[in-house]
């Protein structure tokens, strides 16, 4: 991210969101809302004095509630740009109207209480959507006690704890009493591969990160015992299977093939009830910490982005690629590309590969001055169009716009580069004004007629 922020050809807009997108490939008109961080980026040096002196604490989202942050904060130490943001919901200046510590202490006067959101309008030739993923909410599995039992955490909580800049300074401890766990149980497939209560698909990353977490655990606390409950181990890429083996053989993790039915607390310990399907036995284990490998889900923001860009999504909210095998980073909308988990669960190498692929597609697009496209597109006869726009409402590509004729009538207009050539518009249009070229109504009627004419001649003969 640092490289990207420093490259003069890249404009990085952080703390900003997409507001509106109009137009089409090569000519997207985009409005972006840059939200007010209440700190003047041009003056701030990133010294961090404001953060040091801020008297207001609140729960840290980045640390998933395991730690705290101030009202003025940087989400994480290496955040780009190196400028904090003020959370006006908890900041004393807004809640009590009394606090201005940061403003007073700032050596360059960068605090700006009157800063407003800024809406930037710009034109772009292509859009790449890489909006990532969120994690499955394990509290939906009440029997695991997530959200209720303090020492039942998710894989991401684990990551925050082992991170040296995290809430526990890099120490792996039980959130309830801050002691080091002696036995940690990892449960895979929490939310994934569960058509009834979770999502039916495999998230693809949990087997690998659980093995990594097992290794990290053993490196932090060599005496600790790691137990992993799994259904299958999915380790398809280069070096992956060998990595899992290392966790099992070198680091002594115990892998049990079975599911966990229930977790409860007793005398300060966690009791994990599960099965070992390979031996056919029911198990009951005592554990100090349970880590749930929660599945990958599409971000909630996806709904809004999907609508702004008219992108199709599957039943689980992941954006739909143009073709699952032959066009994984393109969408039905020419000029809009996908990369990473927003298209479907995948790990880092695959996400990076898709990022490069999307960039490649954009470069191929930009290398031309003109776009060649298939002539099998729809065309509107202005004189026959009544402007009902039923075609626009059904077009899967969003390829139809409004246009005013010289006689002041609003009619439909097809953006030829975006049109996919399906003909749904033609079948929908009540007057037959919009016709898919090469499959017009008259052409198909002609085919039907000549077919039947042939029959009539045959039967007459």
């Amino acid at each position: 991210m640092l490289e990207a922020s420093q490259d003069p050809r890249i404009k990085l807009l952080t703390y900003a969101e997409l507001e509106e997108v109009k137009g089409y490939v090569g000519n997207f008109e985009v409005k972006i809302r840059k939200k007010a961080r209440l700190i003047d980026e041009t003056r701030c040096t990133g010294c961090g004095l404001c953060i040091e002196r801020c008297p207001t604490f609140t729960s840290s989202e980045w640390d998933l509630g395991l730690g705290q942050r101030k009202a003025v904060y940087k989400p994480f130490p290496q955040a780009i740009p190196n400028v904090p943001v003020i959370d006006s919901e908890v900041c004393g200046h807004f809640t009590t109207g009394l606090c201005s510590v940061c403003e007073k202490i700032c050596p360059v006067g960068a605090v700006d209480w009157n800063q407003r959101d800024e809406v930037i309008e710009e034109r772009f030739g292509a859009l790449v959507v890489a909006t990532g993923f969120e994690l499955f909410d394990p509290s939906l599995y009440g029997e695991y006690g997530a959200g209720r039992i303090k020492d039942v955490i998710t894989g991401l909580h684990f990551e925050r704890m082992v991170n040296p800049s995290g809430p526990t300074g890099g120490h792996l401890v039980r959130p309830s009493d801050f002691t080091e766990p002696r036995r940690v149980v990892f449960i895979q497939c929490v939310g994934s591969r569960d058509a009834e209560r979770g999502v039916p698909y495999c998230s693809g990353i949990c087997c690998m990160y659980t093995a990594k977490q097992v290794i990290l655990l053993k490196e932090h606390i060599p005496e600790a015992e790691a137990v992993v409950f799994y259904m299958d181990i999915r380790a398809p890429a280069k070096g992956y299977e060998e990595f899992i083996r290392r966790a099992q053989e070198e680091y002594g993790a115990i892998y049990i093939r079975g599911r966990v039915g229930r977790i409860y607390e007793e005398d300060g310990k966690l009791i994990v009830q599960g099965t070992d399907t390979l031996s056919g036995q029911a198990l009951e284990l005592e554990a100090d910490l349970v880590v749930l490998a929660t599945g990958v889900v599409a971000p909630q923001e996806g709904d809004r982005i999907g609508q702004l860009l008219a992108l199709a999504r599957d039943d689980y909210g992941f954006f739909t690629e143009l073709h699952p095998k032959l066009a994984p980073v393109e969408t039905m909308s020419s000029g809009i590309y996908l990369a990473g988990c927003c298209q479907g669960p995948k790990d880092i190498p695959a996400s990076v590969a898709q990022g490069s692929a999307a960039a490649g597609k954009v470069m191929a697009l930009f290398s031309k001055d003109e776009l060649e496209s298939d002539p099998q597109v729809a065309q509107v006869k202005d004189l026959r169009c009544i402007g009902c726009f039923k075609c626009r409402d059904v077009c899967p590509y969003g390829a139809i716009e409004e246009k005013e004729t010289p006689w002041k009538k609003m009619v439909a207009r097809v953006v030829e580069t975006v049109c996919g050539g399906c003909g749904l518009c033609t079948a929908t249009c009540p007057t037959g004004a919009i016709q898919l070229q090469n499959f017009t109504d008259n052409q198909l009627l002609g085919e039907v007629e000549s077919l039947c004419l042939g029959w009539r001649r045959e039967s007459a003969a």
Binding site: R384, C388, V394, G432, T440, N442, L445
Partner: protein, 316 residues
């Protein structure tokens, strides 16, 4: 109710370019749509079971003007459907809502009196009094109301700016019209085809059904009269007439509110409404959908669901 209507029209006439309502027709058995522009014209307005016309049919043509329109329950559904399709805008219509207990079917009345010689028509509680030169007849309204009114599900307008009467309870769920559909379904398909060929033989392709329909906004651009695309020729054959009616009904699928104006307007007395009611009944079953009843609802054939609970898998 008529006094309340006149009062309301007088009150709002200034902010509107015109108000479409019902006035006296060319004979005592007919009302007619009238366009009120000036206060002096307000007294021409009337309200009685002769007010059969669906005045929503004018709305699309008056786009760009702010108009007032008098609507019965059935008419308000047409307005709602036009709004749902984005064909008119809500700010441009002011709706004077009149709860309605039913309107007259002149064909039914013609079986009882000589409708060509009517001198006076008056109303009593639940009855119509018709005086011709020869005699005077008092007929219970229920016997001469349109079939669709007998089991009207929406006597009270579903959308209005002012409601000028007490809301009325539904008379039914269109049983009378659905019975017409069922009667035909008791025949075999070849018998049904014969029936339609007999009925549609009389069609003269005058397009009164199309012109009376509030949802038919294509009018001069109608696919039935076009050569590009050439769906139907101008040949005067029953095949073409059958095709025209099927085309019309399918183009209205999910849009038709069952107001029956098509059948009323048909000069040849062809039972057009039951063709549309069949489609409406199927859409009700398949998608739990009725046109012009819920604000913002999309016609079912212009949308889809990834899984359709009521549509069975193909048999293969």
């Amino acid at each position: 109710m008529i006094d309340k209507l006149k009062e309301a029209v007088r009150e709002h006439l200034e902010e509107l370019e015109l108000v479409i309502g019902y006035g006296e027709g060319y004979d005592p058995l007919h009302a007619t749509p009238i366009f009120v522009r000036r206060p002096e014209e307000v007294d021409r307005l009337l309200w009685n079971p002769l007010c059969v016309y669906n005045l929503a049919t004018y709305l699309y043509g008056l786009k760009g003007k702010k108009v007032g329109v008098v609507v019965k329950g059935c008419d308000s559904r047409s307005v709602l459907q036009l709004l749902n399709e984005g064909l008119i805008s809500r700010e441009e219509v002011f709706l004077f809502g009149l709860p309605c207990s039913g309107v007259l079917d002149l064909r039914k009345l013609a079986e009882r009196v000589d409708v060509g010689r009517v001198e006076e028509v008056s109303w009593q509680e639940g009855k119509i009094l018709v005086r011709t030169r020869e005699k005077e007849e008092t007929i219970p309204l229920e016997e001469v109301l349109q079939d669709r009114c007998l089991s009207c599900p929406y006597p009270t307008p579903l959308i209005y700016d002012v409601l000028l009467g007490d809301p009325l309870p539904p008379k039914g769920e269109n049983e009378a019209l659905l019975r017409q559909v069922k009667e035909l379904e008791e025949l075999t398909p070849p018998e049904r085809l014969r029936y339609w060929k007999e009925e549609l033989e009389r069609c003269i392709r005058c397009y009164a059904c199309r012109n009376a329909c509030p949802l038919c906004v294509c009018q001069d651009w109608c696919a039935a009269e076009a050569r590009d695309p050439h769906w139907i020729s101008m040949r005067d054959g029953v095949k073409e007439k059958w095709m025209w009616q099927v085309l019309h009904a399918l183009h209205l699928a999910g849009r038709c509110t069952g107001c029956g104006e098509c059948e009323r307007a048909c000069p040849m007395g062809i039972p057009l409404l039951r063709i549309r009611m069949k489609i409406n009944a199927e859409l009700r079953e398949l998608f739990d959908y009725e046109a012009g009843v819920k604000e913002g609802e999309r016609p079912p054939l212009l949308t889809y669901q990834v899984s359709e609970p009521k549509i069975e898998e193909p048999k293969w």
